[in-house]
């Protein structure tokens, strides 16, 4: 299980990379492995949208499951990773890199403090079993 130290994590298995007020969001390695082969991604937000923490930003389908991705933070969407619509399988192979989902700015700082660090998220995954 890959859980990078430098990211923040949400209970619903999204990660957030924080860089000077800008946040990049994706789903975790744990989430992609639970879904298995991902075949479809649909965005429910677009660049310029204001979103709130907990809003559904995308749905992901694998052969066996479907999942909603909710935003771990509130803010304004500055980019969505359109390439993934054609190649959603990248979420399986590179969930923390190429397969980022959206970028957000004007983020509510309070939201970030409620997220887990890598160690807590690792414990949280283990509690749920594999």
């Amino acid at each position: 299980m890959n859980i990078p130290q430098n990211l923040k994590y949400e209970k619903t298995d999204e990660w957030a990379a924080v860089d000077a007020g800008k946040v990049t969001i994706g789903i975790t390695d744990y989430a992609q492995s639970q879904l298995s082969d991902i075949v479809f991604l649909e965005y429910l937000v677009a660049t310029g949208d204001d979103i709130k923490k907990g809003d559904v930003i995308a749905t992901i389908e694998s052969v066996k499951a479907a999942a909603e991705v909710s935003s771990p933070v509130s803010g304004k969407v500055t980019a969505v990773n359109d390439d993934l619509i054609q190649t959603p399988e990248k979420i399986n192979t590179d969930p923390y890199g190429e397969a980022w989902l959206v970028k957000v700015e004007d983020v509510d700082v309070g939201d970030l403090s409620s997220l887990m660090d890598a160690a807590s998220y690792e414990n949280y995954c283990q509690e749920r079993g594999h």
Binding site: F40, E42, E61, S62, V63, K64, A65, A66, E68
Partner: protein, 449 residues
């Protein structure tokens, strides 16, 4: 009745379980209510049951006894012997949903072929594995539109000449959603032109639904209405009679986003209204929004071609309360029957059946229009059904026709007050010229009574 156990086997099985009697297996059932006495008729043997069923059937007058000119959503067509013969094969009849593709390739490939036939007939990109019937397919189209706009568009425009039962089912399904409404048609005459619908379409309209040929038998080219609908981002749905599509321009050509319809004319007996077949086809871009099962082609480990249920992540068993429909089964065996029917009748035969229906209806119309007291009420081309304005209440005319072993047309006054005294007559390849001439004779007789 159909359990094979002998007394000694039962005893042996109970010993293996570790209980004394079968009753001991039901200790979790509240004692007070355990083993109720059911008031049912005594059991029959197979011989007796067959006699009983035959007696019940004898209480009916079927279209084997009557000449049928009744349509209005269910049609009397010839079903070739091959169709029933093949669908009775136990391998099709007694299999279930093809969840295990390795042992269900027969059902899966047959559905794949059904999907292909429906796509070809409707001119759409994809068809699903079928819905319960035409009315529920139409309701699922409306629900699809609701989800397509995430509930943000609340208006649905239903043509006044849509089959009234379809409208009723759509209304029931919509009643489960908040902030939706059916706009327009109450203010419209069922005989009005589809262009009249344009005035009701706005940015809040999720879907416009028309029928082709419509409930009154008329054929319209909906291209202009489709354009107007699309200009406002609204979805355009067309309810079809698939047999008519052997003759007519497919809705895919004039801009339908969704095509639904009653598949009964494709080799399915009338059977007092069911089981029938809900056709549902759409464009590629809406495939994930479409409810219901879907079969796709793929390969096995050796690269051998095979078929599986696909896009199952849309469905209720995975999405649960997030699924857009709770549909589980399709009409498997009936979809199979229609695939067999179309394969057998084929490209030439299906066109021939459609033309026979067309010519017989037009012959009848021409003759009926000459009978005093009757007039045709067609303001557009029609396929195999048309409206006749009658000199007397339709019920009275039908009672008279029945005395001559004729099942008369549908009484439109039941659904449309403005069409009191109007009868909808349907003609198929099953009606001979003699049948039609007899109908005309009796109609003339009733008028003069």
């Amino acid at each position: 009745m159909f359990y094979p156990h002998t007394e000694s086997e039962r005893a042996e099985m109970l010993r293996s379980i570790g209980v004394q009697s079968i009753e001991d297996l039901f200790v979790d059932v509240p004692e007070k209510y355990r083993f109720p006495k059911l008031d049912l008729p005594p059991s029959l043997t197979e011989m007796e049951a067959v006699t009983l069923m035959q007696e019940l059937a004898n209480e009916n007058y079927s279209t084997h006894d009557l000449i049928c000119f009744l349509g209005a959503g269910a049609y009397n067509h010839y079903v070739p012997a091959v169709v029933d013969n093949l669908i009775r094969r136990g391998e099709f009849l007694t299999a279930y949903t093809p969840y295990q593709p390795e042992v269900s390739q027969g059902t899966l490939q047959a559905i794949f072929e059904y999907q292909s036939i429906i796509a070809a007939l409707t001119g759409m990109d994809v068809s699903n594995a079928s819905h319960y019937d035409g009315a529920t397919a139409a309701a699922e189209a409306v629900v699809m539109a609701y989800h397509n706009f995430r509930g943000k568009r609340g208006k649905y425009i239903i043509s006044p000449s849509l089959n009234p039962q379809f409208r009723q089912v759509i209304n029931t399904y919509l009643s489960g959603y908040d902030n939706v409404s059916v706009a327009g048609p109450d203010e419209l005459d069922p005989m009005s032109s589809p262009d009249e619908l344009e005035q009701f379409i706005d940015m809040d309209t999720a879907m416009v639904i028309v029928q082709y040929p419509d409930f009154l038998g008329r054929i319209y080219d909906y291209a202009q209405l489709a354009n107007k609908t699309h200009a406002l981002g609204t979805l355009f749905a067309v309810v079809v009679n698939p047999l008519a599509l052997a003759l007519l321009k497919p809705p895919g050509e004039f801009g339908a986003d969704v095509v639904v319809g009653e598949g009964q004319p494709l080799g399915i007996p009338m059977m007092y209204g069911g089981p029938y077949l809900g056709i549902f086809a759409t464009k590629k871009e809406y495939v994930r929004k479409m409810a219901g099962r879907l079969v796709g082609e793929t390969v096995d480990e050796q690269g051998k071609r095979g078929y599986v249920l696909t896009l199952t992540a849309r469905e209720q068993h995975i999405r649960r309360e997030k699924a857009t429909s709770n549909i589980c089964t399709n009409q498997g065996l009936i979809a199979l029957a229609s695939a067999i029917y179309v394969s057998l009748v084929g490209k030439q035969g299906l066109r021939q059946v459609a033309e026979l229906c067309y010519h017989k209806a037009h012959y009848a119309a021409q003759k009926i229009s000459q009978i005093e007291g009757y007039s045709l009420c067609c303001n557009a081309p029609y396929f195999h059904e048309f409206i006749v304005c009658c000199p007397k209440p339709v019920e009275e005319i039908n009672a008279h026709l029945l005395e001559h072993q004729i099942l008369g047309g549908y009484d439109l006054g039941k659904n449309f007050p403005s069409l009191d005294h109007h009868m909808l007559l349907a003609f198929t390849e099953m009606n001979s010229r003699d049948d039609i001439d007899l109908l005309c004779d009796v109609l003339a007789e009733v008028a003069n009574d």
